[in-house]
Amino acid sequence: MEQNIALELKNITKTFGNVIANKNVSLKVRKGEILSILGENGSGKTTLMNMVSGIYYPDHGQMFIDGKECIIASPKDAFNYKIGMIHQHFKLVDVFSAAENIVLGLKDEKGFDMPNYIEKIKEITEKYGFELDLQKKIYEMSVSEKQTVEIVKVLFRGADILILDEPTAVLTPQETVKLFKVLKNMRDSGKAIIIITHKLHEVLTLSDYVTVLRKGEYAGTVKTSETNEAELTEMMVGKKISLNIHRSVPENTCDRLVVQKISCMNREGTKVLDDVSFTAKSGEILGIAGIAGSGQRELLEAIAGLGHLDEGKIIYNDPKSGKEENLRDKTPLQIRQMGVRLAFVPEDRLGMGLVGNMDIVDNMMLRSYKKGKSVFLQRKAPKSLAEEIIERLEVVTPSANTPVRRLSGGNVQKILVGREIASSPTVLMAAYPVRGLDINSSYTIYNLLNEQKEKGVAVIFVGEDLDVLLELCDRILVIGSGRVTGIVDGRSATKEEIGLLMTKSSEQHDEE
């Protein structure tokens, strides 16, 4: 049996400065087997795999391929050992076709023979059941198609050990099913596959073995058939936690934000929002589901006063005065001056919501620095706010004066959400607020959103994990290609129903 081991790591340790990314991690993957590496964000999964693919070099430890010790010091070495990694961020040339991207960088001494390559690629796609149009340009592709190109690319290069970093993060449920099917086909033909993930149900449906990492340390390997969600969570987090999100029934709701038929175009002149209408009610969480890039960002930015609208109205009902105000074409500053307390947790935390190079205190000031007549900054209030958030949300940071870019994703998000909530908003919009967060931090965020909801805030939550949307939200708006394809009840809707709505509009567009 030991002959079958494709890749083995023994006691791998890697540190970055004082941060220990991996400590004495060992794992094995056999040929014809799918191994999941499970761990929360920041637990060192990607770092570990980056060492296998030659991007980082371990401080200590050994690697064995086919039972022989090997040293992988560069991606080229990894390639020679037939290791292929599919990163979370695709590395493709947009203006090239799928086939061109697949053969890109190939060194063939016999000369460049495209028809021959295409034959070979077709063999691969047929063998494993990929659906791929080889002539299609990358920029015309959906995320799922791009991922397929990446996978075929490493297979074409002859990889026997495939590593996929969070492959389902950007896929719809239907696409995920497809991906798992080809991964299983690959396994059955003898490839060794490692997938990095933090989603428990995927681990259980797909893999044969699970290796769990916890804060960079090896927490154990279990056979998938002999484990369950609760046990894996406990291994990941180190303690038992309940995975249920508390959802209260909305009380005394009223229409807080009424979006009426808004449309807008992006710089290239394509419609990114098309006749979108909905109502966000106070004391309720409205979820927004959709494939990434279907107009979610534009929608929230339009409401926040960051985008230009071509048509429509955004009506805000002021709870104090009872007046109706149109927020369309107002700048964020004007919106605030109108007395609208709109909090916005954008998707791009360090690029928009926070300034990475500034410390926590200065980031707290972003919303409030203008207060007061003095020309000088008042750092006292933001400092105490920073300390309060650090304490209340359990932010792990050396001090309040640490630049936020040094913090982990979860802590960055706590800072951002904490600041936005501190302004006691009446509308709270959050775009992918738990993306990249560990379980504990995610639940902290869900609880914060629920707390706001119970306070009577109209919460708009853009999410990607349908399970979470279904557990957290009172109503779910589904958006596809910039159109509202349906609004469903969060308590009665099913995942499949939402999955279908997510793809509905894009298909309609094709027919038109």
Binding site: D77, G353, V375
Partner: protein, 370 residues
């Protein structure tokens, strides 16, 4: 056998070291690295000196120091040069902090100098000194700010490229000054610049340049406070770090860009005023002398910190003056002093790499691996 295998692996596949980013370095360690860099630079310069000439490098360094601080007059000279360079560096700093690549300081300085000179020539005899000097300052500030606002306006309005625009504005300023000096030269048209008698800055405590130095010292303190503790300084940082964040929190980015560039240009204008009224008492098209560009380096080297800028501008002036002294004393081609200056600056900038990164030796644990 295994040992040999291991050895082969190491020698074949692994480079002996790799580069890792440092997390955060203690300040004194950073300074040790900088000092080591300067020492190595001096060693390399010495070697090159011996290789190219037969000058004793140690002697040469002493000549260099002697040429900068040898006499009180030289010291004052150095301080005054440092002050002007520092002033221009302070001027470009807010713009650079905002990631607005203002390489037009040269022109903004010249225009400020031109405004000063015009006041001195046309109003010099008519107005009492205090009013005249006030007018000179105001006009140099206004014109300097204007010169910087033009590219800033086009940037905010049409998103034009500020690097090219500010650079082009330099040439316009140089030509304008050249025209005026020719028009106002003595005798007219000869090109010999006129000595401007009225409106010279007063001599304090018998030191001609003291007032320049004091003015720049005040500007340094103000700039430090402005960038670090004022709301406007905060806005500059936010816009520079991320324009998206600035828009997200409702900062009017265009307004900040215009305001900051006006400040940048205004301080350049003051530098021009100091050059004309406080130092040269005349104006030529090369009065700025490339300092508008050197200032960019000073500002970057100091990581936009006005206090560090005092040190970096002093260093640059020291190198320039010292190197020119070497060529003068040993009758060397001036490019030799450029070589020396270049090597030293190269090492100082190179030191920043070792401050941000460390080099790790691979496979320290050879024994463990067997």
């Amino acid at each position: 056998m295994k040992k040999i295998n291991n050895f082969l692996h190491q020698s074949l596949y692994v480079s002996p070291f790799h580069i890792a980013k440092r997390d955060n370095i203690v300040w004194w360690k950073a300074w040790i690295i900088r000092i080591i860099a300067v020492l190595i630079a001096l060693l390399v310069c010495g070697t090159i000196t011996i290789a190219l000439t037969d000058i004793n490098p140690v002697k040469m360094y002493f000549t260099m120091i002697d040429g900068v601080v040898g006499t009180p007059r030289l010291v004052w000279n150095m301080l005054q040069n440092t002050a002007i360079l520092l002033c221009i560096s302070l001027a470009v700093t807010p713009a650079f902090k905002m990631r607005f690549w203002n390489i037009g300081a040269e022109g903004q300085v010249l225009i400020g100098g031109l405004a000063t000179a015009i006041c001195m020539i046309f109003l010099g005899e008519k107005l009492p000194a205090p009013i005249l000097i006030t007018l000179m300052i105001i006009s140099s500030i206004v014109l300097g700010a204007f010169w910087a606002l033009v590219p800033a306006y086009f940037k905010t309005k049409f998103n034009s490229n500020e690097t090219l625009f500010t650079l082009m504005m330099n040439y316009i300023a140089i030509q304008l000054v050249a025209y005026f000096t020719l028009e106002m030269s003595v005798p007219k048209g000869s090109g010999t610049p006129r000595v401007l008698e009225y409106g010279q800055l007063p001599v304090l405590f018998g030191q001609k340049y003291l007032i320049n130095i004091l003015i720049v010292a005040v500007i340094t303190v103000i700039m430090h406070i402005y960038l670090k503790y004022s709301k406007q300084g905060y806005e500059i940082s936010v816009v520079g770090e991320s324009e998206k964040t600035a828009r997200y929190i409702g900062i009017n980015v265009k307004k900040v860009v215009l305001r900051t560039m006006a400040i940048s240009g205004a301080i350049c204008g003051i530098a021009g005023f100091l050059i004309v009224a406080g130092t040269d008492h005349s104006l030529k098209s090369d009065s700025a002398g490339g300092r508008g560009f050197t200032a960019i380096m000073v500002s970057w080297l100091a990581k936009f910190n006005p206090v560090f800028m005092v040190l970096t501008s002093l260093l640059i002036v020291f190198l320039e003056k010292g190197a020119s002294k070497i060529s003068e004393v040993y009758r060397l081609n001036s490019s030799f002093s450029d070589i020396i200056t270049g090597i030293i600056i190269f090492f100082i900038i190179g030191a920043e790499f070792f401050i941000n990164y460390k080099i790790k030796v691979n496979l320290k644990d050879k024994e463990e691996r067997v």
